[in-house]
Symmetry: C2
């Protein structure tokens, strides 16, 4: 029982650290963020923090992977065809984002920083973008879009770019409605919205 | 003549500093960038660099404003209506971006960092996004788009989001063609492409 108590305590501590790390990386960016600041936020010593997270780089990857597990609809094959349903599932991810500004800030700053080949999250974002674009290309192709790869790239770009505008002007930008408009326009262009009922739910 | 020579020398030095600053801010982000590193790149002492730029914050704003002067088509009222011509002028900005990776990196990282209200470029990006969205809303409205503000927001988002994808996968992403597709699809949706000849040049 003592061991299980220790395990639960370690797990709670880890969750606390990941939560604080999201905030710190989002505010400062990965490069400027300091583990000493993070330790102070968590009420830990620097050595105590390192014991839990291993390294700054390992911490970063843990934070990024945690979010992708939560958003399997965006990056995983969790939503089956038809494509219209897969695209509609994206709106849930976008809706969730509107209630977690810190996570959106984090991904905005890190995805930009990580375009540098020497950034520790470079491989993560390299693979993540390939996976997301491939998944959405499949969804648009399944929905009959004749230029599915282009539609997918532009949809991913719209979602990313809207985040910057929303972070700057949260009251002016309705991310969910704009992403919905983008998807509807793509599908209307190929006649899908006029010929099936499956996209009514968009 | 001596004074004019000094002036030209100061101006050349300033251009050198701004050029190196673009690279450094793009690689490290504003917060992690160090003026000492920048001074070393420019062959100056730290004090010598401060003499030229005033402060790190003033340097950042000078870098940002220089790019917007170059890209007046994007953020200024330099291109007159009709709206289709204004939208086509954007493609030139995007095309120019494909030959200046450093500037694209800089804007990607800084626009994300600067969503924090305490970032020194926050006011710059706040106003820049309002101006760009307003200008493109005007262009789409002039072209007869019934939801011009939404089309403008999504076009700005596509341009921003494509930059991240292009920085990660430059060989896979054709930013000019994707932005062209986005504009064409918006205008096709309202019948503009079928009823005027002005957009042939898109």
């Amino acid at each position: 029982m003592a061991a299980r108590g220790e395990y639960a305590k370690g797990r709670a501590r880890r969750e606390q650290i990941l939560g604080e790390a999201v905030g710190l990386f989002a505010e400062a960016g990965y490069r400027a963020a300091s583990l000493r600041d993070l330790a102070a936020r968590c009420g830990l010593t620097h050595a105590g923090l390192l014991h839990h997270v291993g390294s700054k780089e390992a911490l970063l990857l843990a934070v990024l992977e945690q979010r992708d597990v939560e958003d399997a609809a965006l990056v995983g094959p969790d939503v089956p065809p038809p494509g219209e349903q897969q695209l509609a599932a994206l709106l849930d991810v976008v809706r969730r984002n509107t209630s977690r500004r810190g996570v959106v800030e984090l991904f905005c700053v890190l995805s930009a920083e990580a375009t540098s080949p020497d950034h520790p999250a470079h491989a993560f974002f390299d693979q993540r973008y390939r996976r997301v674009v491939a998944a959405l290309t499949g969804a648009f192709a399944d929905a009959g879009h004749p230029a599915a790869a282009s539609a997918a790239r532009r949809l991913v770009a719209v979602m990313d770019g809207l985040q910057v505008q929303w972070l700057l002007h949260p009251d002016d930008v309705d991310m969910v409605e704009e992403v919905r408009s983008q998807v509807e326009q793509e599908l209307a262009g190929v006649g899908v919205l006029r010929t099936t009922s499956g996209t009514e739910s968009l």
